[in-house]
């Protein structure tokens, strides 16, 4: 399923959907002929796009606004927080090439604090699909939802054979081993699944969890993972602060659950710019590297 095709069919079915872009055409390049005046390209001005989306939403529209994830979430941050967050307007933000998917663009384009920023806005949904199928499946539900939403856009092929339909706020549990739980989101599910296979081959039963939405988070599943295994491992292409590791810590504290948690993230530094396979290798996020890092964490005292 293509994101673009689902967005087109939803927009044709529902007059209220407006597609906006700050000249980020790649994920929606074929939509202008079908949508006519409901496709609005404002040029390279993210703040104005968000302000305009708020105005459209005030008139009953559901704007779906596209830009590169770093410029969308950071350049326009105060507009998002003030115009969409305070007013709780149902604008859907689609961040292109988030995290490692910015590849060789360099730190300016690395959205690796986007989850922290968007999660910090009350009422904002944060959805991180594992692949394009999951994104496309989620889209109609996100358009129905009355809250603003940030989507970590992902155009990659299916990461795994999915087991559960998309439900906002619900994680997908892909295996139910009891030794270690791997919690992840976005395309890294692919690498985490590869790591899980390697670990299983070495006799380590894995609970593999695809978080899907980081706000609202599936707190019950995080608690179940903590109670049902001996070690929680969070895996994310994000800074240490404010992402999944922070989320898990908040949830465990809130529920009074003690657990061993081993975070795999980018710490406090930008990643080495390169093509994606080289990034995964250099940053030690490939399935093989992840499996080795999890084994090391399991063996640590």
């Amino acid at each position: 399923m293509k994101y673009e095709d689902v967005l087109r069919s939803e927009a044709l079915r529902r007059e209220e959907v407006i597609v906006l872009t700050a000249e980020n055409r790649a994920p929606i390049r074929h939509l202008p002929p079908s949508l006519g005046l409901r496709f609005i390209d404002v040029g390279i001005c993210e703040q104005t796009m968000i302000g305009a989306a708020a105005g459209l939403a005030l008139r009953g529209r559901v704007p779906v606004a596209h830009a590169l994830a770093s410029f969308l979430t950071m350049r326009a941050f105060e507009f998002i927080r003030t115009d969409l967050g305070i007013a709780r307007l149902p604008v859907k933000l689609v961040g292109y090439v988030p995290g490692f998917l910015s590849e060789a663009n360099g730190p300016t384009h690395q959205a690796i604090e986007d989850v922290a920023l968007m999660r910090g806005i009350p009422s904002m949904r944060v959805v991180c699909p594992a692949d394009e199928d999951e994104l496309a499946e989620a889209l109609p539900a996100l358009l129905d939802d009355p809250c603003p939403c940030y989507i970590r856009y992902n155009h990659l092929a299916p990461a795994v054979a999915h087991r559960a339909p998309f439900v906002l706020g619900r994680a997908e549990v892909l295996s139910e081993g009891d030794r270690v739980a791997l919690l992840t989101y976005g395309f890294l599910l692919r690498e985490a699944a590869a790591a899980a296979r390697l670990l299983e081959q070495q006799g380590v039963p894995v609970r593999l969890v695809n978080l899907r939405t980081l706000a609202p988070a599936d707190e019950a599943e995080i608690v179940a993972s903590a109670r049902g295994t001996g070690l929680l491992v969070t895996i994310e292409d994000h800074f240490a602060t404010g992402g999944l590791y922070s989320l898990v810590a908040e949830v465990l504290l809130r529920h009074g659950v003690r657990a061993r948690v081993h975070p795999i993230h980018l710490g406090d530094r930008w990643f080495t710019p390169a093509l994606l396979p080289d990034v995964l290798e250099t940053e030690r996020f490939s399935g093989i590297h992840l499996a080795a890092r999890v084994l090391a964490a399991l063996e640590a005292p």
Partner: protein
């Protein structure tokens, strides 16, 4: 001005060859790199008071590349003029070097990182302010893209630069008529662009950005008005030098095959037009 006197067309050709070599194995933003190649060659050899030995000299002229995606042209110019090793260009996109799709200030000659559009006119303004405060005579040049002029921060910086009478600040617009994916005038029209800058308190000249004689005249007479920042609007062609990709919306970013690179290098030297199988891309 830098000595010795360079053969500018030959230097520009060498820069373009480097750019084409970078447009494979992951690719680069070739269109904008080729449109500003003559501008960068001219600025570095005839205008900027800077050398590889003076990159820490506070009295040097500064050049900020605000439209950072054209950095292949800057790296190639820096390599040809001895700021960095030519061999480093072959490390483009390698995780073992630091030359990637946008400027990295760890590379000698790169004054600041960019890639997020609309940042460096403000940064250049800050440098120009400090030069004024310290009584310096050096100048600050900021290379802007025309698509980049969509960003509101550009116009905020224009207001502030005029308010502070920064006649040591020079914006150079690479007016290649394209946003990433479409023509500027078809999306967010900029014309009459000189009037926009003038009404913000800047003095303005328009010049053919591929004509070295015209560029010499335009850059010899700065500032155009005492007490006002200057802007040079350089009319350029995206993809300049390779007719088969010139003014093509879908040849903004390119990741060509090795054979296509060879054909494009031939076309650059005046041979037959390259046959391109690689699909055009819409990236941004």
């Amino acid at each position: 001005m830098s000595e010795p006197r360079h053969d500018l067309p030959a230097l520009a050709l060498a820069v373009r060859e480097h750019v084409v070599h970078m447009a494979t194995r992951g690719g680069c933003f070739i269109g904008a790199s080729l449109s500003c190649a003559d501008l960068l060659v001219h600025l570095y050899t005839r205008v900027l008071d800077v050398t590889p030995e003076r990159l820490s000299d506070p009295d040097r002229d500064y050049l900020f590349l605000s439209k950072g995606h054209d950095v292949p042209a800057l790296y190639a110019t820096l390599a040809e003029l001895g700021y960095i090793e030519r061999g480093r260009l072959a490390q483009h996109l390698s995780p073992h070097d630091s030359i990637y799709w946008h400027p990295n200030r760890a590379v000698p000659g790169v004054e600041f990182h960019s890639g997020s559009l609309g940042h460096l006119l403000a940064v250049g303004l800050g440098v120009a302010l400090d030069i004024k405060l310290r009584g310096g005579k050096n100048r600050v040049f900021v290379l802007l893209g025309d698509g980049e002029l969509d960003e509101g921060s550009i116009w905020e910086a224009c207001l502030v630069a005029a308010a502070y009478h920064l006649d040591n600040l020079v914006a150079v617009v690479d007016r290649n008529d394209f946003q990433a994916n479409v023509r500027t005038e078809e999306l967010i029209p900029l014309e009459p662009l000189p009037f926009k800058f003038q009404s913000f308190g800047w003095s303005c000249r328009t010049v053919d950005g591929h004509d070295f004689a015209a560029l010499a005249t335009a850059f010899e007479n700065l500032p155009y008005a005492q007490g006002r920042p200057s802007v040079v609007i350089a009319r350029t062609v995206r993809g300049k030098g390779i007719p088969s990709i010139e003014r093509r919306a879908d040849r903004w970013f390119a990741d060509f095959t090795a054979a296509e690179v060879e054909a494009l290098l031939g076309e650059l030297r005046g041979e037959a037009a390259a046959t391109l199988e690689t699909e055009g891309l819409v990236v941004r």
